[in-house]
């Protein structure tokens, strides 16, 4: 079976620094893949290039058997590729409910329909229930705690029923209980058929949840295997602990 997402030779330089250096990897449909690596190994750059937030200098991207020539966040999202950000990004001035409703893809001619029409509202409320945010539906998202914002960002991404979700450090900066909650949500959604690619520093979380684990070092994947194998891979240990 062809992979859901394939990156081939992605290269991206910032000045003299090669953040991505002919980086190639594949994401199998139905997997929960992890992208790990030491700081500065190019994980977030990989996310930005894949989702079209930064143009790649070179390389090819295939998503759902389609060559993505010039990745654009809006178009990719409409194809089913959604992402979250390292620093939870919500729309602070919009209500929690509106934050989720916004995730629903709209054709241009629906722009003059009601701000939060009934069908969208019901679906958004279901999502908020699922994420334990229903009590805050009418509150501006800016008033949520950081952990709640992470959950809200995740929930809003799900509104469009994506095929592949890229999570950038879903557990960074949130408390251990919230980490467990986040893990549960990922598992539930995975069970419903969503593929995940997760950048994460919290290794226990990765080892529990993800398979395979892709290890990046200096902009290039050095390993892609099951978590146990990766843990004992001398190249990986070298990348993390070596010079």
């Amino acid at each position: 079976m062809s992979p859901l997402l394939a990156a081939e030779g992605l290269t991206k330089s910032f000045g003299g620094i090669r953040a991505l250096d002919a980086c190639s990897f594949e994401i199998a449909e139905g997997s929960v893949s992890a992208l790990i690596g030491p700081n500065g190994s190019g994980k977030t750059t990989a996310f930005n290039v894949i989702t079209g937030y930064q143009p790649a200098d070179a390389g090819r991207l295939t998503f759902r058997d389609r060559a993505v020539r010039r990745p654009d966040p809006c178009r990719l999202q409409r194809l089913g590729l959604a992402r979250t950000f390292q620093q939870a990004r919500v729309f602070p001035g919009l209500s929690v409910l509106e934050n989720v409703v916004l995730g629903r893809n709209q054709p241009w001619h629906a722009l003059l329909r009601g701000r939060v029409p009934g069908t969208d509202r019901r679906r958004a409320e279901d999502l908020l229930d699922e994420f334990g945010l229903a009590a805050h539906a009418g509150v501006p998202a800016g008033r949520l705690s950081y952990g709640q914002r992470k959950l809200l960002e995740f929930a809003s991404v799900l509104m469009a029923e994506p095929v592949l979700v890229l999570l950038d450090e879903p557990t960074a900066g949130i408390n251990p209980i919230m980490v467990k909650t986040m893990e549960d949500h990922i598992r539930q959604r995975h069970a419903l058929g969503i593929t995940f690619l997760i950048v994460e520093h919290e290794m226990k979380f990765v080892m529990r949840l993800c398979d395979p684990v892709i290890v990046l070092d200096r902009g290039r994947p050095i390993a892609c295997a099951a978590p146990e194998e990766v843990q004992n891979d001398p190249r990986v240990l070298d990348a993390y602990l070596g010079d």
């Binding site: 929960v32 989702t51 809006c74 729309f91 409320e125 809003s156 549960d184 529990r208 395979p212 978590p227």
Partner: protein
């Protein structure tokens, strides 16, 4: 090697179905239940406002009073039109005087060169002028909207001065610095200002209606998202490019419409007055004072500053000292009421009576803020 993804479905996944509604607190359903776009309170508010607009010149009938009303209503409309782009979408456009001037010159040229005729007929020109400006600015808007924040502000100011320079130099059309005369309207002297007042009032009502439609639609939601975090909005599939263009074009078209009426009222156009940076800044100041991001904020701001501005200009006009009063006012607004009067008032009233049903003007201000949480910022 284990099958990819096998781990994720390990035991530990909670049994609850996504979307189980059990945890919803009571009362939420009523607050967020299906809600029509037209609230009875809002409809009442609109009707009252239209009634006030209609009778104002009959009550304040002196020439200087109606003249003041013409300008105040015009500023309320300009501030509301600016708010579409500057408030809802958060794009700090500072060059709307350019579109105002384009509307004004289009009216003057239409009446002098094209021979539309006198009397009420020039008012018909407003429609093609507004639509034409909205369409014509699209390529420019596309270019400008590639920038954001300070860069966008600077570029829009540049556009303003470019248009002004063009007005000075395309003498064949604009008369350059010798100005352009528009035929004086043959209205009876006793009520000369009234047709212009009503033209402005109709345009203001139309502008507010447009603002209301935008605010209560997906378009408004998308614009608010652009204001809060444009990049994330793109990643959520919001057509940021399209909604920004629509907001820009509509805002510019409405601004041009007011310029057209203004030109017919003043009957003399000079580039420095028709394309006046202070006009744009005045409108923006009003939107800030009343509360940009709100529907009524720009109107409230104009009602307060419009007459005050005329007074300042009258008292200190010759020396342009009134501009300092303007600047002081702007600083005070930014410092004391960063969100503007309407949101602040709404919040205060909301705190006093959190559960009170909407009735009366002030409560409507509060619910208007509630309607879009964006107003609470």
């Amino acid at each position: 090697m284990t099958r990819p993804g096998a781990r994720a479905t390990q035991p530990g996944a909670r049994a609850t179905q996504p979307g189980a509604r059990a945890t919803r607190p009571a009362g939420l359903a009523t607050r967020h239940g299906s809600r029509s776009r037209i609230r009875p309170a809002g409809a009442l508010q609109a009707a009252a406002f239209v009634a006030v607009l209609a009778v104002l010149p009959l009550i304040l009938g002196q020439h200087w009073q109606v003249n003041l009303l013409v300008f105040t209503v015009m500023y309320a409309g300009l501030a509301s039109a600016w708010n579409l782009l500057g408030g809802y979408a958060g794009y700090p456009a500072l060059g709307h005087a350019a579109f105002f001037g384009i509307g004004a010159y289009a009216m003057a040229i239409g009446t002098t060169h094209l021979g539309v005729g006198g009397g009420y007929r020039p008012f018909v020109l407003i429609v093609p002028i507004a639509v034409g400006t909205a369409v014509a600015v699209l390529p420019l808007a596309r270019l400008l909207l590639r920038t954001r924040a300070a860069a966008f502000a600077v570029l829009t100011i540049t556009v303003l001065f470019m248009v002004q320079t063009l007005a000075y130099n395309i003498r064949g059309l604009t008369g350059g610095s010798s100005g352009l005369l528009v035929p004086i309207a043959p209205f009876p002297a006793a009520t000369f200002e009234r047709p212009f007042y009503y033209a402005m009032a109709v345009l203001l009502a139309l502008t507010l209606a447009v603002c209301w439609v935008v605010r209560t639609s997906k378009l408004g939601l998308a614009l608010n998202a652009v204001r809060d975090d444009e990049d994330r909005a793109r990643g959520l599939g919001v057509q940021t490019e399209l909604v920004k263009l629509v907001a820009f074009a509509v805002s510019a078209g409405l601004t041009a419409a007011f310029g057209a009426v203004w030109a017919y009222y003043l009957t003399f156009l000079y580039p420095g007055f028709a394309i006046d940076p202070l006009l744009a800044l005045g409108a923006i100041l009003m939107a800030f004072l009343g509360g940009r991001r709100t529907l009524w904020g720009p109107v409230v701001g104009a009602a307060l500053i419009g007459p005050a501005q005329q007074y300042f200009a009258y008292r200190f006009g010759a020396s342009h000292l009134y501009l300092i009063a303007y600047a002081v006012l702007f600083l005070l607004v930014i410092y004391l009421l960063p969100e503007g009067i309407v949101p602040s008032l709404g919040r205060r009233l909301g705190r006093l009576r959190p559960a009170a049903p909407a009735s009366g003007t002030h409560d409507q201000v509060a619910t208007d803020s509630l309607f879009s949480a964006g107003d609470l910022g």
